[in-house]
Symmetry: D2
Subunit: 338 residues, 4 copies
């Protein structure tokens, strides 16, 4: 931690800060420059992080030196985490995992049809929501437990792993009963109670980046889950909110290599929510794989015109199949497998 003092900081103010630092068991080093005095503090930053040093008289700014996350960091674990999703599917290693399916569970027939199509094309996980976060109270809110049952039934029949969103601490047990991977949606990335409780389950979790969350904040939310005991965590870049309005969100493709540098956790990309337009999904999927992503989360619907949500961004099965063919070749070119 570095404390930069104001040009007119008094000796009394400096001493007051030094006393506080020493009381916390840390060793301060004072450097008096021509224009500013600086206090460098050697030792663990955690105890300082919760002390409002900016509030001390004479302080101009406080600059942390270390990252605030630990368990998720590359320093903590240098090698990549490989997470077992069940059914022989692992994510984080050489093989790229594709999760695909409709935005929401609508009914058995539609989900079954889509599941068979995405399985045929090479996906290993079926995605479909039973609890849907919707901007409007008047929109379709999902089928709830009925939806989870349909998802479970279809997954068994077709032979796919399942992922579905959990939005409420009260629903975790219910969702965990039916699905293989718990999804925390972008709007809940900083729903800290939800993070703690999925952290207590040990189930694989996909944590989506919030619309206005930095990579660092994503890693801090991941730290909540790991520190609660669950290391089976997969991060997901799904676009951030910017001024650009030709796409629904702006896919932050740099987040993929950046997370890979900072953390050992796998990261996947959701090109469908990022773009908001199915016509861009193929390009973004290829970009994601080329940038180093460990997987994709793609919306596919056999009848987008009748989809109860997100129809405009869903691929038709035929387009999904074509994309998977292209991704297979692309994965080979970067020495990975799809």
């Amino acid at each position: 931690m570095i404390i930069v003092l104001k040009p007119d900081a008094t000796d009394q103010q400096i001493n007051h800060i030094l006393e506080k630092v020493q009381k916390l068991g840390l060793t301060p080093h004072v450097s008096k420059g021509t224009e500013r005095t600086i206090i460098g503090i050697i030792g663990p930053e955690d105890v300082l992080r919760i002390t409002p040093l900016e509030a001390f008289p004479g302080v101009e700014k406080v600059m942390p030196v270390l990252s605030p996350y630990k368990l998720v960091s590359r320093e903590f674990q240098p090698e990549d985490s490989v997470i077992d999703l069940g059914n022989g599917v692992k994510i984080g290693g050489n093989k790229i995992v594709v999760m695909a399916g409709p935005c929401a569970v609508e009914n058995y027939e539609t989900l079954s049809e889509i599941a068979r199509e995405v399985k045929k094309a090479g996906a290993s996980v079926i995605r479909a929501g039973a609890f849907k976060p919707r901007t409007s109270p008047y929109s379709f809110q999902g089928l709830g437990e009925e939806g989870l049952k349909i998802l479970k039934r279809v997954s068994v029949e077709v032979g796919l792993i399942t992922i579905s969103e959990v939005m409420d601490t009260r629903d975790i047990e219910l969702v965990a009963k039916y699905v293989d991977i718990l999804q925390i949606g972008a709007r809940n990335m900083q729903n800290f109670n939800l993070l703690k409780e999925v952290g207590a389950t040990k189930k694989p979790v996909v944590l989506k980046r919030g619309l206005s969350s930095t990579v660092k904040e994503l890693l801090m939310s991941a730290e909540y889950i790991l520190s609660a005991g669950n290391f089976n965590l997969i991060l997901c870049e799904r676009g951030i909110r910017t001024f650009e309005d030709s796409t629904r969100n702006t896919l932050d493709i740099s987040a993929v290599p950046m997370v890979k540098q900072l953390s050992h956790l796998p990261i996947i990309v959701d090109p469908s929510h990022a773009a908001g337009k199915w016509g861009l999904v193929a390009s973004l999927s290829k970009a994601a794989i080329a940038s180093g992503a460990d997987g994709l989360l793609i919306e596919v619907h056999s009848h987008p015109e009748d989809a109860m949500s997100d129809g405009a961004q869903s691929l038709l099965p035929v387009n999904f199949q074509e994309l998977m063919n292209e991704l297979t070749i692309l994965s080979g070119a970067i020495k990975r497998k799809l």
Copy 2:
């Protein structure tokens, strides 16, 4: 709803859309221009909003004409809502309401001291959190029910209304038992289950705007609460996330008059979280009142150096008192009262 077709849309595609629209009980009007064909649809847009018209072949874009919110709109209720907070305090009318206090309940002594100071300076509501949303799992997370009890005790002793945050659907009953106004924090603005359930309580609610939420989305979240039966809602602008890094967030002062145009609900401003620096709070408070805000939510701490959170953005009681004096004069200049 206006549907703009692609330049190469076929008659078959157009007929397919018209059939869909008519099946929904609506009347389409086709206008063939030199460069584009447009379909205008007369009738309630709600039924169309849930139909993915962008997914239909031949469609270039879909432009809604009406706002997606109803109960919160000025059209629904032209006159300003005035909400009774209890203890003779009303918000939304001529009198400006100031809510002040520490970020978190830390202990009885500190809260009691701060409460007496803000009461003396003219605040009518004491703010203090018992459940704290913190970016890091290693930070102070609040005292929970113990904190609520302290807040209740202090409020009775000093004679102030209370506001405190509720973060989890499971805690609503508990928080509602102790406090007068429920606060939904910025990170939970789109925690839709939480919105529905505070909507079921009838307690006054302060709904903070999300860091990356538009004014329209704020109003949609408000619609969740009103549509669940609770009209005692106060909106709160607390800064949005932008590229500017000299402040913690960017206070969107335009949101105040914009909300006033679009909605009948009261709106207050939280200058402390917007700025993140106590030295800017006075200027932003004055700007908020001058722009038409109905109240302020300000962090005040008697010992910011020892604050367990947000010390750097807390005003000292002496500065708060001075600000209140200035705001009293300013309120008079715009024909309101503090």
Copy 3:
């Protein structure tokens, strides 16, 4: 300057950095902590700023301690700059200066009518563009020198100071011949040649903040002008680009007190371009004055329906008059004069 080293930085890498620093005539201090080694450098940062220390092996990050601007800073000049605009009008002191008029010079009659109206209402400067930066090549681009002549004629007849935009280094001499205050538009805030050359003129300059420029970058652009010899500079906050789409831009009201803390230069606010809607201009003008702005730049047009640009954000003279009346009372409440 603080250099934070990677956890695995070698002694050889550290020595390589120390040599470089010493070669530049500076004194490095090495602190070896438990998790990181830090090099603090005492002495002027300027010489280091142009050295790509991040490119040195073993370096994790480089944190500057001092601000990169000098002449514009409060440290360089603690007291507020008061700038003489001519005609007895000064900005930066107790009196607030209002600049008003149409977006563009359209013809003599219209400008003359508007000038008389804004003069009557209390404005002391008439604004009107002769060179217009327009997003589309097919939009009205301004009358050029003909427009400047009209502006000059009207200003003499009505008795107002003039401000008009200069967009091209080749036009500075021409514009300076006719107008009293040179305006650098938001799109040219980082047109560094233009900054240098208006810096060579000694004419008062209004420098508008770029749509995506930080406060720090605004001050750096100001530094270009001051370092070229022209201290007659007024900064202008006019809204930044964010995700919010209910307004044209997001007025960053915090920039006003922030600039006042960091710099001695006057700052004004342009509520018209920030909002993009005339219905918000009065609220934002009041907020600007309450926050401490030294002046306003407001679009006023007597016939907005016929305006050749920005009609939707122009106030009618009658509304401008009413606003000026309100601002006069408001200014009194904060002990300033309009």
Copy 4:
């Protein structure tokens, strides 16, 4: 153009608008719905675009139907533009073009060394700036004409096409005399005079997207150049400004397929400025090619520690060579050539 009227718009107001539209030679269609009246206007929107319809009494909002650009659009030219850069190099077709080199021309020896390296690795264009836009007036501003001469000499000796930035209308002739491709930097994307004048040269131009410019605005700026007569235009995505601070800018990878849908112009990507960190450049380069970009603009420096600008984001020649090897395989996987 669609005009949505306020709920309380009077017949008189509606007639006033209809008269205006008819006077402009257009045909309005009025649709009276249950909640709103809408006026649809058939005919060219251009004449309406310059009429401030939002300023008319009774108007709630105006929604354009057509794109404001013409010459750059896919509708104007359905097939991809292929631009001849000279020396047998073409961009926009199957072959991907890589432009590489240092940020700035520093001296003959360094540039010559770097040029030989990038040529060997497979680049066909050398980049290096002689006029540098720098945030600080105290930073290295480029060698000017001397730098252009060095660039010219090196390019002839090594056998590479050249690209260099032009920042000022007064320098266009000079820069065009020495270099093959004129670069318009991000900060000048809306320097409309500069656009018009490079539009008059017929030289190939690379137009970089502004830090806060939408894709639509990029295309409007491109329209300036094409409408001035120069169709030899290449667009460049180089990152936009967002709240994310772990990278210098946020590469908007979606802009690549989006521009391809909307326009016939080639688009390249600059991963170096987007990331600001050399360690991310390889991942972003691969993502760019996979997403469909026609080329790359990469910073390479043989001695980044001594670079006079942007050292931290420059690749070493050895890393660049490795990247080119990977990109060659990747290009094959998507049926293109490097």
